[in-house]
């Protein structure tokens, strides 16, 4: 009896154990909401989605690190420290005073932006080659994609050599070294330009909805023109003739034309204007990341535009830059007055601000002794006060005209704006050609007509000379090409080109001329040739002992 009982119990236990036994030692992972390469790349749509990864990397170009490094370091833009706001350990003041260090976050950000793009392009080239090899992907489709990816890679290398100069050159994913060594700027330039000269002719010349926002032939040509234009800075060897030739090709054969209205290129519905060569198709839902409005506008501006989030009261433009526009220049726009809001929009948001219902936009932080006064007034226009009293730490809250070049829609998401962003547009190519011609021969008769073509659209009179004092030092000497410098600045304001321009004109170290008064203990201006390159961030140096720090930095 006992024995049989034990047997029954033992059997029951065995059955229980057996119920689990099928998975007794199975530890394979089961996935539900995730994909791996094993269950992806099965359809054309999935392959296209993989290519898309190369383009999402552009999302950081229009605002954030690229903007910070290319414009806050110049006479065009500044982030003053307003009381306790925007102190952030001095990061923003250091950018403006050229006193950055290898610890500053932006130094890491620029590197990540550049190499993120390079690596994604390299990875996709490699993956498409693998997909062709295993028969998943059509070879002809892959070849077109790979030419496109090489051009994208060229774009990000251009950014890297522009910001950091000497960087590792990683050109193939499969054989890449984990800790690649620093390569001299000129060598990277040579490889990249050579690669682009091969790849760009393979790109489609079609300009329509299928190529909008993609690297087509014309975008590739503009990229090459940018590299040639800066070649003297990057390598010591000028390539202005090549630059002019590439620009001529685009102007003559691309089918692009200047829009009648300058601001058509910056409106919230600016997709596919006749002037756009390569655009980032920002969208509040699908392609987020264009956040200039939230970075620039005052807290209370939320009520001027009925924004869906409170802005941060940060980025603004400098007085001399604002004043470098003639009052009749349609690019400048109006300033709001005590009688009412600005009528003509411009690159700037200036003067008194008004809410949608017409009531004044009020600065609730203003008190009786506050020089700003309660009625929000950007740049203290019309009050006789300076536009920004100082860089920091005690800049006034309302100081500084704000960035209004890209239309701020009523009800906009200021952190995710709808406006497309032209990385390359025709006016830029026209001015590049003018500069390339002028640098080869200052007396070239082709220069002024090109510059005046752009000026005509802005409603300002033709220039008769491209020489003159530069905008941040109007009392200073006449500089050859000074007025060309000013015109490029006016047309291309806030489009991430100002730092390159200053360096090409050899003016980057005149930082003391445009630096605002600063009064924070420890703040200093740093000038020196080394500042034309940014330092490699410490995180990067720590991670890769084969990297060399740029000269002049520790």
């Amino acid at each position: 009896m006992r024995k049989s009982l034990n047997l029954v119990i033992a059997m029951l236990l065995v059955i229980l154990v057996a119920a689990f036994n099928q998975s007794c030692t199975n530890l394979d992972e089961e996935l539900y909401g995730e994909v791996t390469p094993d269950n992806f790349f099965n359809s054309e749509e999935e392959i296209l989605a993989a290519l898309g990864a190369a383009y999402t990397q552009f999302g950081g170009f229009a605002s954030g690190t690229s903007l910070n490094l290319q414009t806050i370091t110049t006479d065009e833009m500044v982030v003053p420290t307003r009381g306790s706001d925007w102190d952030d350990g001095g990061d923003w003041r250091r950018l403006h005073l050229h006193a950055w260090t290898r610890e500053d976050g932006n130094m890491n950000g620029g590197w990540n932006f550049g190499f993120g793009g390079v690596n994604t392009a390299n990875r996709l080239i490699y993956q498409f080659e693998v997909l062709v090899d295993d028969g998943t992907m059509d070879a002809a489709v892959a070849a077109a994609f790979i030419a496109e990816l090489r051009t994208i890679r060229g774009f990000f290398y251009w950014q890297l050599i522009d910001m950091y100069g000497n960087v590792p050159l990683v050109t193939d994913f499969a054989t890449a070294e984990a800790q690649p060594a620093t390569v001299p700027r000129a060598d990277v330039y040579a490889w990249v330009v050579n690669d682009l000269e091969e790849a760009v002719p393979l790109l489609t010349k079609t300009v329509d909805g299928t190529t909008y926002g993609r690297m087509n032939y014309w975008a590739g040509q503009t990229l090459l023109a940018k590299l040639y234009l800066n070649a003297e800075v990057y390598t010591g060897t000028p390539q202005y003739a090549k630059c002019a030739a590439a620009c001529t090709d685009i102007i003559d054969n691309g089918g692009f034309s200047l829009t009648g209205n300058y601001f058509d290129n910056f409106s919230a519905s600016n997709t596919g204007t006749s002037e756009m060569i390569f655009a980032i198709p920002y969208d509040q839902v699908y392609y987020t990341g264009f956040s200039l409005a939230v970075e620039s506008l005052h807290y209370s501006s939320q009520y001027t535009y009925n924004l869906t989030a409170q802005p941060w009261n940060g980025y603004c433009s400098l007085e001399e830059f604002y004043n470098s526009y003639e009052d009749t220049d349609i690019r400048k726009g109006d300033a709001g007055t005590v009688d009412g809001p600005a009528i003509k929009r411009g690159n700037f948001i200036a003067g008194y601000q008004y809410n949608v219902d017409g009531s004044p936009t009020m600065d609730d932080g203003a008190d009786a002794n506050d020089p700003d006064g309660p009625h929000l007034n950007f740049g203290n226009i019309g009050t006789g006060e300076p536009q920004i009293n100082e860089l920091g730490p005690q800049a006034w809250r309302q100081s500084g005209v704000r960035i209004g070049k890209w239309e701020i829609e009523l009800g906009a998401h200021p952190d995710n704006m709808n406006n497309d962003y032209a990385v390359f547009r025709l006016a830029d190519v026209i001015l590049m050609k003018a500069e390339a011609l002028w640098r080869q021969n200052p007396a070239d008769a082709g220069v002024l007509p090109l510059v005046n073509m752009v000026r005509a659209r802005a409603g300002v009179a033709d220039l008769t000379t491209v020489d003159g004092p530069v905008s941040f030092d109007m009392a200073g000497p006449v500089i050859p090409g000074g007025e060309l410098y000013n015109e490029i600045g006016r047309e291309m304001a806030f489009e991430n080109g100002k730092r390159q321009e200053l360096i090409r004109w050899g003016l980057y170290n005149d930082v003391a001329l445009w630096a605002l008064p600063y009064n924070n203990p420890g703040d200093v201006i740093v000038d020196g040739e080394h500042t034309t390159l940014f330092p490699v961030h410490r995180d990067k140096l720590d991670a890769n002992p084969n990297l060399e720090q740029n000269p002049g930095y520790h």
Binding site: I9, A10, L13, L16, V17, F20, S23, N26, L27, E29, L31, Y32, G33, E34, V35, T36, F40, E46, L48, A49, A50, L51, A53, T56, G83, S84, D85, D87, D88, G89, E103, N119, R123, A176, E177, A178, Q179, D283, V285, Y286, Y287, Y299, Q302, T308, A309, Q310, N313, D364, G365, A366, A368, P393, H413, P521, G522, D539, D542, A543, N544, P545
Partner: protein, 990 residues
């Protein structure tokens, strides 16, 4: 509650079932007698308790007693310090005289270890046992709180008095940074059980497995310690009903020391800035209140020879000190045990279920109550404020009317937790048992929040914003063990073998959308959100699973009660690891020798030296971390429309494997003066290797810029003492005291570097965290350095306010400028030492507990002061009273800086001593009552006072910042204010 009819009816059945059983027994009578010892005659003060109840009596000076028993099956348990406990079944007797034998009681205590029990004297590892009578008293709403401060080496903390926030537990310091830092909880055999599904009233004891050798039987999840919870069970031969009820009044124990309107006006006048709105508002009074909470516990238990049961229902209903916060919770438990097959088969069924509805409120209200202008009104009739429902608001950065936040918006949750466990144990032959255990735990979390259309900030920005989420996590656990106990020539041998299978499932759904026509729906009609039509609503869902499978075994040997040996091993695999590295072995050994026995030391009852070593593990916190996965990252414009871009979101690491912690523990257990003084001393040192951490890796060769790797090493060591002294035992009065000091010798980040696929990954020195906006986004909080202690607070050194009001900081590197390079270590966020000190007094029918708790040597970054102790900031914010003292000592000139700068000035020593809880109870003499077994009334207080120099609201250690355990010691501005509470309660036994 409306949707849980099944739940209610289930519990009604349980209650009826319980009544049905308990009604069977009700034959009360009185038993009397004398208790004496052979040596000393009658013994006064002997405790007599009816087993399984709290009903009891105490002998008088002549050793006489009288007690009412429920029936013949009642078992009387006679106990007194220094004597062996004796149990006698009443049967038909009315007089029971008892002779007690002298004995060392504490050593005979049974301690719960992994998959079994052991006598305390046989232990070879560091295990602390806390019984229900030693638990913290008063307002305790969370099981973890019961043992806060009671176990040397176990830190339990909750900064601030948020009733809906859990406690952070940490055992013997931080030994992992990438994996789970909280101890594993085992509830009645359910590995990974939820402490939130067991009511504190239902807990019989908690055992803490502290060292590696004790925890290694739970191998892979034992690295952060194991807490074994045993719930109350029914006892044979009793049938009783107990009711415990308590009402608590909770109030704010400490507010931040901010300026009132008058002080604000004075400083505003001096700085010449700031807007005076003419009112005088105490924002703390407006946002907080005295909160009332009530707790009810009804339990019934009992048993026959074959069946024992315990069923209970627990109701907890309370408000939080912040407006519109609180919770109400219903918990039920059934523990049923049935014997069959000539008592060789035992089937145990345990069911626990909890439903909790919570109003979370909004933590940021605390921050804005501190920083809002005290001259501003709460509400205004001015039509300009109609758009905010009449609440006063100002458009400034990071500035919101805190009353409006709490009153206009809702933030609610409903949690449901169910655990069912069944276990069959069969004794095949004497000493040989096999068992099979199956358990399911299921937890559901429903959340809903709504920001009103007129709520300035997120609500008005989005024209109403609703969010709803449902998350579910569940597991099933199957375990089977075989256990054999035998005597071999004087030695007692226990052998255990087992198999464990556990799979986990996590899934959920959430949606968020704004733009509503009406506020009427709150979060109950997301379809009405315009955002979804506009394409900016968010919808998300997920599911992931993982499995753990293990084989384990243990051998215990007890030779002549003098020599003790233990060896165990667990071989365990986890699905979360790389294909080739899923399994790990976690062995442990321990040995003990009772020197008092061996060396015949007369003055010592027991002097056991024990030494042990064990290896435990940790797995990654998430599934699929060893796989290369692709995920959507942004969109891509193609042919006039957007398609998602897919790219790698993780790297493959087929070598990903267990993090391993080896721990060496040497301990001394002692007992002397006939058990009047006893305790344990432990020294431990633990080294974690193959540290799991998400590293930044280069791209290429890697596809993604982070990877989960096994690199790095952490070391901890410390000393622990537990000392109990039964100090006074004189007639009607007794006093017993226990102190549990812990000293942390070392908590070092030895290395976070290594080689991965041929790449050298060097961690070196990192500045971690950020103070945040306004103005200190890039200001780091903590410096992590290989080879140095974890938790180094990093800031400038404050020197003074200069004669002209300049902020003067130390130029540490003497390079003439003050910059980032001048920052230094100005404190450490982790404590050096902790202790709890409990005292139990009895005088006649009174009992009193006094429990002090202390944490020493940790610093806190008082971010509130760092942001607002700047006089010029009065333009936009209210300030701490101390802001007015920020002036030069000689000239009296105020600090002129408008920027907030983090310096050593804001890093404070947060050591504290708290009167954690205190209770006084009175036990009515029920010997003449037929209806009641016992009645006790009590008054208790919690967090009655703190002695600390810390200026913030709560000096409790902060173990992490936003989940990053390498950033301890940061007191953020959203912390709930500390609270204190007073409770009145009654315990009734029927």
């Amino acid at each position: 509650m409306r949707n849980s009819a099944w739940w209610k009816s289930g519990f009604l059945s349980l209650i009826l079932f319980g009544f049905a059983i308990s009604l069977t027994y009700a034959q009360e009578r009185t038993v009397t007698g004398t208790v004496s010892s052979a040596e000393e005659g009658p013994i006064p003060g002997v405790n007599i308790v009816i087993q399984g109840t709290t009903q009891g009596a105490v002998t008088d000076v002549d050793g006489n007693y009288s007690i009412t028993v429920p029936g013949p099956d009642a078992i009387l348990v006679f106990s007194s310090i220094g004597y062996a406990t004796q149990s006698i079944t009443v049967g038909s007797q009315t007089t029971i005289n008892v002779t007690l034998a002298e004995e060392l009681t504490s050593l005979e205590e049974i301690v719960v270890i992994g998959y079994g029990t052991q006598k305390k004297k046989e232990l070879t590892s560091a295990i602390s046992n806390v019984k229900s009578e030693e638990f913290n008293k008063g307002s305790v709403n969370n099981a973890a709180q019961l043992v806060q401060g009671k176990v040397a080496g176990l830190s339990i903390n909750r900064p601030g008095g948020n009733p809906n926030q859990g406690f952070t537990m940490r055992l013997r310091g931080l030994s992992t940074i990438g994996a789970n830092t909280q101890p594993l909880v085992v509830i009645d055999g359910v590995v990974g059980g939820s402490l939130d599904n067991v009511d504190p009233n239902d807990i019989e004891s908690m055992d803490v497995l502290k060292d590696g050798s004790a925890a290694a039987i739970y191998g892979t999840r034992g690295s952060s310690g194991v807490i074994i919870v045993t719930t109350k069970k029914g006892r044979r031969g009793t049938a009783q009903i107990d009711y415990n009820g308590m009402v608590t009044v909770e109030s704010v124990g400490k507010y931040p020391n901010v300026m009132n309107a008058e002080q604000w006006r004075a400083l505003s006048a001096e700085t010449g800035t700031g807007n005076d709105f003419g009112y005088s508002t105490d924002w703390f009074k407006e946002t907080t209140r005295n909160a009332i909470q009530q707790t009810h516990n009804l339990s019934m238990s009992g048993g026959t020879n074959k069946t024992t049961y315990m069923a209970s229902i627990n109701v907890r209903d309370g408000d939080g000190v912040a407006l519109n916060t609180g919770y109400n919770q219903l918990n039920g438990r059934l523990n049923l045990s049935q014997k069959a097959l000539n008592d060789r088969l035992t089937v145990d069924l345990n069911i626990g279920a909890t439903q909790r509805e919570s109003q979370y409120g909004f933590d940021e209200a605390f921050r804005y109550a501190s920083s809002y202008n005290p001259t501003a009104p709460v509400r205004s009739d001015d039509p300009a404020y109609d758009q905010y429902d009449g609440y006063f608001q100002q458009v400034l950065f990071d500035y919101y009317n805190p009353v409006a936040i709490l009153e206009q918006n809702v933030n609610n949750g409903k949690d449901q937790r169910v655990n069912v466990a069944i276990k069959g144990t069969f004794e095949i032959i004497d000493g040989l048992k096999v068992d099979a255990f199956y358990s399911v735990q299921n937890q559901n979390f429903a959340r809903g929040s709504y920001r009103d259309k007129n709520s300035y900030g997120t609500g008005s920005d989005r024209n109403g914003l609703a969010r709803r989420s449902y998350d579910e996590n569940s597991f099933q656990l199957f375990e089977s063990t075989i256990n054999y106990i035998t005597d071999i020539s004087g030695a007692n041998l226990t052998i255990l073998g087992g198999y464990s299978y556990q799979d986990f499932n996590y899934e959920g759904f959430s949606a968020e959308g704004g733009d509503f026509i009406t506020d009427a729906f709150t979060y109950n009609n997301l379809h009405a959100a315009g955002d979804f039509n506009a394409g900016i609503g968010n919808v998300n869902s997920y599911r992931n699973t993982n499995r753990l499978i293990a084989f384990f075994g243990r051998v215990n040997l007890n030779v002549t009660d003098s020599w003790f040996l233990m060896a165990s091993a667990r071989y365990e695999g986890s699905s979360r690891f790389g294909a080739g590295n899923k399994w790990g072995l976690f062995p442990a050994v321990g040995a003990g020798v009772d020197l008092a026995n061996i060396l015949d030391i007369a003055s010592m009852d027991n002097l056991k030296l024990r030494v042990s070593y064990g290896i435990t593990g940790n797995q990654p916190p998430d599934s699929y971390t060893s796989l290369l996965r692709l995920g959507p990252q942004g969109n891509f414009f193609y042919n006039g429309g957007f398609i998602p871009g897919y790219q790698p979101v993780s790297n493959a690491n087929e070598d990903l494997g267990w993090e391993k912690k080896g721990e060496f523990d040497v301990g001394l257990d002692f007992s002397m003066l006939d058990g009047k003084l006893y305790g344990s001393f432990d020294y431990y040192t633990r080294t974690t290797t193959d540290l799991l951490f998400q590293y930044n890796v280069p791209v290429p060769p890697n596809l993604y810029n982070t990877a989960w790797l096994n690199l790095g090493k952490i070391q901890n060591s410390g000393l622990e003492l537990t000392l109990t002294w039964n100090a006074v035992q004189a007639g009607d009065f007794s006093w017993s005291t226990t102190i549990t000091p812990t000293y942390y010798l070392k908590n070092e980040l030895v290395s976070l570097s290594g080689t991965y696929k041929g790449t050298e990954l060097s961690y070196g020195t990192r500045d971690l965290g950020g103070m945040g906006a306004p103005g200190m986004s890039d200001v780091p909080l903590v410096r992590a350095v290989e080879g140095q202690p974890i938790g180094q607070l990093w800031a400038h050194t404050f020197v003074e306010v200069g004669p002209t009001g300049d902020l003067i900081l130390q130029d540490t590197n003497e390079d003439g400028t003050i910059d980032d390079l001048d920052r230094v270590v100005v404190g450490n966020g982790l404590p050096n030492a902790e202790f709890g000190w409990s005292n139990t007094f009895r005088y006649k029918n009174f009992d009193m507990n006094v429990f002090f708790r202390s944490v020493l040597g940790h610093d806190l970054n008082n971010t509130y002061r760092a942001f607002y102790e700047v006089p010029q900031v009065i333009t936009s914010y209210n300030l701490p009273v101390t802001a007015a003292d920020m002036r030069n000592k000689d000239t009296g000139v105020l600090l002129n800086s408008t920027s907030d700068v983090l310096s050593s000035w804001h890093i404070e020593n947060a050591s504290f001593l708290a009167l954690d809880n205190m209770s006084i109870g009175y036990n009515f003499d029920m010997s003449g009552s037929n209806a009641f077994r016992n009645i006790r009334v009590f008054v208790a207080g919690n967090n009655l006072f703190y002695i600390t120099k810390y200026k913030g609201v709560d000096p409790s250690p902060r173990y992490d910042d936003g989940g990053n355990v390498l950033i301890p010691g940061i007191d953020r501005r959203n912390t709930w204010f500390r609270t204190r509470s007073v409770s009145l309660g009654v315990n009734l036994g029927f």
